[in-house]
Symmetry: C2
Subunit: 633 residues, 2 copies
């Protein structure tokens, strides 16, 4: 080996290799390999944080004084060295132990079992600064910035004025040993005494029309610490979003009222979750928000009416970052509220969360994603392209406008099975006596009644059917799901002709949306590799029955997956991952939008889908095999 030849360093466990000249130390080699090793002194042998393990002792320089101070004899025996003190003369393999890793790929497991590398926009940096003296009169901020730049390689930071105001006292009170919180590599949002680099939290919030859900996340580990939810307090201004928009339209003051109320609601969730988890609100530096476009606008105090009136134009779709103090959100006042981007008028930030959480934009396979709510957002596509639409499916699946409909809460019937003798088996959330029926069970009821000929393809009751469960009351027919003595309310739980009609309207709108979207993207049912159903209308949906009533296209049952509240999962991904945030922004721009209101085929598709499962049975071959059975009964 000649004097100038290069030697190879391999860094484990990542396996990164780099060829370097002899004479540099391992810390410098790591920098060349783009491998981060922890340090607080920038490689000057002062902090003792850059511990690594090397086995080939014969090619290494002698232990330095700094190493004998910072390494225990046990560590020295095990091959530990300080990277910045160790020069090497031949090829080596370097093991970076967990404690010395920076941004090591910690993993956040999500509900969907997808994984997001932990890389929040909020970062904390511990610093030990030189005290100023008459020969070193660098101002406080510049002292801090230079250290951040030298040690952690974060450059050109802005600083919040509030931080400047407390900076001098904190530096001196902490004897120049402080932790700096930086947002998005561009803004210093906090300075605290001592090493608090592992203490920072964030909250992901889904502002639903009826419910606000918050997930409190430890940003040092990516772990979800607590989940809290409350009813959206705007409900007192109207259960449905159109009533609230109408209220907000009438005056500036009304708009402000709705904004204040939803912000109070978010603050209530925050107070609740911080108390439960014993987290200091001043160490909560970021909150990510998703919601439909109207909620998004109302939360920011922006008039939502133009998104609700033709031609359905939102005021803004880009992501918005606002200092918490400006919105009066009760996290650290210099913390950031990050509102995720929206796609279009009725495809909001919650829909961006849906796509992010299901990852359909990353799959080569073709997915159909349906987030069922009062407005249902539908997506079809894959990593090449995604087309979306929104349809007004109404709140039937969420329990509204259905005689005994209710949300998917304790006491709701969530699954229903009808026997040949028309006896009904059902399962209640919480295994208590039933109070009502939630969306998933409504799908079951309609499907099962159809299977047994209780209703026909038009959804009408068959008056010939001989069973005491089919009754006539108030001049209309109804089917008894649970008898008086079985229920908590001591009243029968029934499904009326009108209820079936509501389900038909809802499922027809959704199926028509799917159908048009698939046509516009030139996708056939056979090409679909997967259908994701998202929403908060049950813990379990029977995919067989969803097909049976014609809610979703007829694909093999194993391709249908119910994924729950994906909107808040998407918000959480953006909270813990800069990359996911960028993806959200990309999705908001790239996901194409098809306005159903101007689609000439929508009405035809909608009316055809009012039938069970559909006016055209050839679209549901797996269901048509039951038709013979149905006709027999």
């Amino acid at each position: 080996m000649t004097k100038n030849s290069l030697i190879t360093v391999t860094f484990n466990p990542m396996g990164s290799k780099v060829k370097v000249k002899k004479g540099i130390n391992i810390f410098e080699a790591a920098r060349e390999a783009d491998v981060s090793i922890r340090t607080e002194c920038g490689g000057r042998g002062i902090c003792g944080k850059c511990k690594i393990i090397v086995s080939k002792k014969n090619v290494l320089s002698e232990l330095t004084e700094a190493e004998s101070i910072h390494l225990s004899s046990q560590e020295i025996k095990s091959g530990y060295r300080l990277a910045c003190q160790t020069i090497f003369e031949g090829d080596i393999e370097v093991e970076i132990p967990e404690e010395s890793r920076v941004g090591a790929p910690k993993i956040l497991a999500l509900g969907l079992e997808r994984q997001t590398p932990l890389n929040p926009l909020v970062k904390k940096f511990h610093l030990k600064l030189q005290k100023p003296s008459l020969s070193d009169v660098k101002p406080d901020l510049e002292r801090l910035l230079e250290a951040l730049s030298a040690i952690y390689k974060v450059h050109e930071l802005e600083v919040d004025c509030e931080v400047l105001r407390k900076l001098p006292e904190i530096l001196r009170g902490a004897n120049w040993d402080v932790t700096v919180t930086v947002w998005d590599n561009r803004r210093i949002i906090d300075v605290e005494p001592d090493d608090t680099s592992n203490k920072f939290w964030g909250v992901a919030v889904d502002i639903g029309t009826s419910k606000i859900v918050g997930h409190l996340v430890n940003l040092a580990t990516g772990a979800t610490i607590d989940i809290s939810s409350i009813e959206n307090p705007q409900i007192s201004y109207g259960a449905d979003i159109m009533t609230r928009i109408t209220f907000a339209m009438t005056s500036e003051a009304n708009l402000k009222t709705l904004q204040k109320i939803v912000i109070d609601g978010v603050n209530k969730i925050l107070a609740q979750t911080f108390a439960k988890a014993k987290v200091n609100s001043h160490q909560v530096y970021e909150i990510t928000i998703v919601g439909n476009t109207a909620m998004h606008h109302l939360f920011l105090g922006i008039q939502p009416k133009y998104a609700a009136l033709s031609p359905y134009v939102p005021v803004v779709k880009s992501p918005i970052n606002v200092p918490a103090k400006e919105l009066n959100i009760k996290i650290d006042p210099t913390g950031i509220v990050r509102v995720l981007p929206v796609i279009a008028g009725f495809v909001g930030a919650d829909a961006v969360g849906d796509v992010l959480a299901t990852g359909i934009h990353e799959l080569d396979e073709l997915s159909l994603l349906i987030d069922i709510g009062t407005n249902t957002e539908i997506f079809v596509g894959n990593s090449d392209d995604i087309l979306s639409c929104s349809c007004a499916s109404g709140p039937a699946f969420e329990g509204a406008r259905v005689t005994h409909g209710m949300k998917a809460e304790t006491g709701a019937i969530e699954r229903v099975h009808i026997e040949k003798n028309f006896e009904v088996e059902y399962k209640t959330i919480g295994n208590v006596k039933p109070m009502g029926i939630c969306g998933s069970a409504m799908i079951d009821v309609v499907a099962e009644m159809f299977k047994h000929g209780i209703i026909n393809r038009e959804g009408k009751f068959n008056p010939q059917m001989e069973t005491p469960r089919l009754k006539r009351s108030n001049n209309q027919r109804e089917f008894v799901v649970a008898w008086k003595h079985e229920t908590l309310t001591h009243k029968e739980i029934i499904v009326t002709q009108k209820d079936i009609g509501e389900i038909q309207l809802a499922k027809a709108a959704i199926y028509a949306g799917c159908s048009i979207l698939m046509k516009r993207k030139n996708v056939k049912r056979e090409n679909l590799d997967r259908i994701f159903i998202a929403g908060a209308f049950g813990n379990y949906i029977n995919p067989e029955n969803a097909k049976f009533i014609g809610l979703v296209p007829d694909v093999p049952t194993k391709k249908i997956k119910f994924v729950g509240n994906t909107a808040v999962v998407g918000a959480k991904m953006a909270l813990v991952s800069k990359e996911a945030s960028k993806t959200a922004e990309m999705l908001s721009k790239k996901v194409r939008y098809n306005e159903l209101a101007v689609d000439p085929e929508f009405n035809t598709e909608f009316f055809a889908a009012m039938f069970i499962p559909h006016k055209d049975p050839s679209r549901f071959p797996s269901v048509s095999k039951y038709f013979s059975v149905i006709k027999k009964t």
Copy 2:
């Protein structure tokens, strides 16, 4: 000429030339030449704004329909064309008339007769947007951003939440014809109906310890519209800065009080100047602030004590931009308050203004710049390097601590001459009866008394002097400058032994500062090409006398220039020019600082400079010729 050869376009009046391929239009050629031509449609023949004049008709394409719509027959006769419609086949010269120029080099003339190209950070853009429709549902903000990007080439703008809130109503109310205000090519801070692209203003403010001065500037033209000033209302908390710092040190509430008071003061100036000039505060988008480091910190609510106590470390030196609403400064609430950077503990943003305004950093010649105030900032250097220091010269030149001292206001004696017979000639500001003596006249009095042997080299009165003007009162000697009957107050205006001592202390501190700074930079008196004296202590300083008392080094009189309040001029340059703002930032980093408090030679220099003109006469050869005269008297 072969088919592929390049042809030359010359754009006048700027004289820019560019070689281009045949077949492109003049608008595109201008873009290649980096010449801006006005447009609102981005070169699509819609707006008719890109009018130009070309004479060589034979190489031009035929008139288009768009041109016949937008050009009058008179214009067509005179050779007018639309740049975006005109393709050319040979070399041409294009005249861009005033009306089609963008950012044409309008010039701001400053007090110092230096010129700054007009390029404020605040810019306004007029836009005519397409209305949304069912087939074009782009959100409001994105519609605006795309137009700004396509037409004016400003990309990736942030937007203030307040602007988002008013955006939808303004767009629709103005039928999509609006003007957008952008700050620093990065943030939309206003949207207004119609074309207001010529209506925007800014204010440059110098917060002095005793006076706040504001210059209102029309940012469309660079013209100064009004100058207003008030006493700094903090004066009720102490005339000198140390008293105020001591007050601010004692509690958070006191610090907040001083901040509130100075902000109220700035708001008072603003209200006053807007009323005088009939300017709408909502069209004032920026205010630049200079002040010494203590004023800088107090204005921002930052504790100034560490800059005043050893080791004299400010909290921050970088420029600070704060939304006006955050500081409660009464310009447009989404406007920006820009606080210029400081250099060191006692060399503040006002000093950065001094350098910027005098331009000593641009000269090859060596300059000495002295901004005389309670603290005097001194600079020596040129385009290569500038060294600065600050010395506590006390307020004697500003009229404080001197028996009949006063500010340079109406009624102040500003020049004094003593005849051989000891009679005194003086000139008063405003040519009224005198009330007191301002700084410039104090320099004259001391110099003239010395010339006539009334005081000796130590500044002591010569008791042998036979003149009724030299009197004894309250056990000390004093010299009568104006008799009772001459004055407005009907009291004598006198100069006491103590007064002379104050002037000696002040001038000794300043001269010692100059002397040390020149030594540290290895500059000799003979090498100085220029001495700038800045400050607000008189309208005219007799440079001969300034040398005579030993205030400034002995250089030929023609090299000494009195430049007045350069701090506010520097603030105004930063207001109208992005380049000047960058220069200010560069200066704050590059100007080196010499801490006199730790300079071992300062005390020796200071005591030697207490003599008139100096203990070592060889430093003042031009004065020593008077010594023989002095000895004779």
